[in-house]
């Protein structure tokens, strides 16, 4: 088949079941997603459309002739008659290779998404810190993540959707140019970045990830603080040991609150005791505990979303 310079061979998304082999000349391929990226060149000997031939998959590229080009078109009946002339295992091999490529594509897609998350969090955290704002223009986020990690806009949008589904942020606005990404809490994005970074660089769980018992104690602490009418002082809330023990009895499913239960939280400086804390002394030896209320809320939120993160991304 002869294709004159500038003529289109196919459009991205077209239904297809043929393979093209370039005999002479040059075809150039492009996709909507990679608009602006360099075109893919297909010179003599190149083949395009293996998945259309084998699995009737729509065209994944828009193909145009960059110069006068001769192409050979292989149709499915040619494929079938070729397979009929050869042993059955040849078809099995083709099926295997196709399936394997699909798995590799899917793994790459998941991997890219997971790999892009820290970059998104890094840029977002930095922007919140630099500007003191609670949002970032989507176009700026796209631009910066592209510069940092070559992450395409579509992938960034997918990541944002995942984080939005976890309740971490919200993409506001209707026009692409005016869209803003707003965080629900100023600290949660930096906290998530710090936690992922700690895990990656130290190969161990971040101290921000709390045990179930720690989470239950802090949840109890937050519940009492919310029900109490005492206003926060410099962001700190104070709860008496008596209140904590009484509420724990009700809400911690029979778990008895002791100095040993509280100790890890004191050690992490999440709960500050009113007097010297001794793990071997009765809990009542401390009159009350105080804590940074917002910090505890953010940590609990982090611990809620962290186990859901991987599943939500892929």
């Amino acid at each position: 088949m002869h294709i004159a310079t500038g003529e289109y061979v196919c459009l991205e998304g077209d239904k297809a079941n043929t393979l093209f082999i370039v005999k002479s000349g040059m075809l150039v391929g492009s996709t909507k997603a990679d608009a602006g990226a360099p075109l893919q060149n297909f010179g003599p000997g190149s083949i395009v459309g293996e998945f259309s031939l084998l699995e009737s998959e729509p065209r994944d590229l828009t193909l145009r002739a960059a110069e006068d080009t001769e192409i050979l078109v292989i149709e499915q009946h040619t494929l079938q008659s070729t397979l009929d002339k050869h042993p059955g295992w040849l078809k099995s091999i083709l099926t295997f290779l196709t399936a394997r490529n699909r798995i590799a594509q899917e793994n790459k897609r998941k991997n890219d998404l997971i790999q892009a998350l820290p970059s998104l969090l890094y840029i977002f955290s930095a922007h919140l810190k630099e500007t003191g704002a609670d949002s970032i223009p989507l176009s700026l986020l796209h631009k910066k993540i592209l510069a940092l990690n070559n992450t395409p806009d579509e992938e960034t949008d997918n990541l944002l959707k995942s984080l939005e589904s976890l309740g971490l942020l919200k993409v506001c606005g209707s026009n692409d140019a005016d869209k803003n990404v707003k965080v629900e809490s100023l600290q949660i994005i930096p906290l998530l970045y710090e936690t992922l970074q700690y895990r990656a660089l130290n190969q161990k769980v971040s101290p921000n990830i709390l045990s179930m018992t720690e989470q239950m104690v802090l949840t109890t602490f937050v519940k009492i603080a919310r029900e109490s009418n005492v206003p926060l002082q410099n962001g700190l809330c104070t709860i008496t040991t008596e209140q904590l023990k009484a509420e724990a009895k009700k809400s911690m499913h029979g778990l008895t609150l002791t100095s040993r239960t509280i100790a890890p939280l004191v050690e992490k400086k999440l709960l500050e005791p009113s007097s010297a804390f001794d793990i071997h002394a009765p809990l009542e030896s401390v009159n009350f505990f105080f804590a940074d209320f917002e910090k505890i809320l953010d940590l609990l939120e982090l611990n809620r979303i962290f186990p859901l993160l991987d599943k939500s991304l892929v």
């Binding site: 293996e50 991997n111 970074q197």
Partner: protein
């Protein structure tokens, strides 16, 4: 002798009957065969640390070893018959002889599928960044200016974010240091790095973006008259607010070349912020950006 009938050269695959427990393939053998199960059942066995685990079971029609044969990728499990089975073994020689009889386009399809999969797998371990210098500049742009960061921590974090190899990161840090955007101090484990001015890194990233897209970067396209206008605006208090004719008159009074076209260009550069009642005031951030770009042009272009 070439007979013209390629079918005569085909080495047929071996079909055999195996008893339950027979080891059809062992990873230590180094053999590269495709094993097709015709009847019965086979299992892929992992013998890691002496513990025998069944990884998957094969049923009639299933095959293993394609990647081993076509891509020299070792198959790491042993294949054992879990019941009496019939198998077909396609050896390397058999495969080669069969491939020779295929039309060229079919061979190309097999090669293409194989090569695309290999590329996708390789890509998992490599960075996606093409311009590693720009990527590092974007990262450093968000560090605290003048704060000293241990070099190894910085390299470690940036490598985690981008998968750019540490050796490349170290070279790119030197490249930014040569441009005077970063300063590297100390030696060995105690080496630290600090950012001189984050604005310069932001400017550098924007310049790199423009260069990659083959477009002229605005700050470097200013005419002499425009540069003079820029310097004049930078001397004006940012709270000054005037309408367009008043600004034009202001520049003319200072004996600077200006007309309506030039005024529109200045708007496009973003040097003025619109205010109430058609008034405009200097956009300090944008003016600082342009002035810094012009002042550090040689650093940005890398022609020191």
């Amino acid at each position: 002798m070439i007979t013209g009938d390629s079918r005569q050269q085909v080495i047929p695959p071996t079909r055999s009957r195996v008893k339950a427990g027979f080891v059809v393939y062992s990873p230590d053998s180094g053999e590269r065969n495709i094993i097709i199960l015709d009847e019965g059942e086979l299992a892929a066995i992992d013998r890691n640390n002496g513990i025998k685990t069944t990884v998957f079971k094969m049923h009639p029609g299933d095959l293993v070893g394609v990647a081993a044969l076509l891509e020299h990728e070792n198959f790491r499990y042993a294949i054992e018959a879990t019941e009496d089975s019939t198998i077909t073994v396609v050896t390397e020689e058999c495969m080669e002889s069969e491939l020779k009889t295929l039309p060229v386009w079919m061979l190309a399809v097999i090669r293409s599928l194989s090569s695309k999969t290999r590329k996708l797998k390789d890509a998992l371990h490599h960075t996606r960044c093409e311009n590693t210098l720009k990527s590092l500049a974007e990262y450093c742009n968000h560090l605290e200016a003048k704060k000293k960061y241990p070099l190894k921590d910085l390299v470690h974090e940036f490598h985690w974010l981008t998968r750019i190899p540490s050796s490349v990161v170290n070279e790119e840090i030197k490249a930014l240091a040569r441009r005077k955007f970063l300063v590297q101090e100390g030696t060995g484990e105690d080496t630290t790095v600090y950012v001189v001015n984050t604005l310069l890194l932001q400017i550098f990233v924007d310049y790199q973006n423009a260069t990659e897209h083959g477009v002229n970067w605005e700050p470097f396209t200013l005419s002499l008259a425009q540069k003079r206008l820029l310097v004049k605006i930078s001397s004006v208090d940012q709270s000054t607010s005037m309408d367009a004719p008043a600004w034009i008159a202001f520049f003319k009074e200072a004996k600077l070349q200006i007309d309506v076209t030039e005024w529109i260009r200045m708007q496009q550069f973003g040097w003025f912020k619109p205010g109430r009642g058609n008034t405009f005031s200097p956009n300090t951030d944008k003016i600082k950006y342009y002035l810094a770009a012009l002042r550090y042009e040689t650093n940005i272009r890398g022609v020191l």
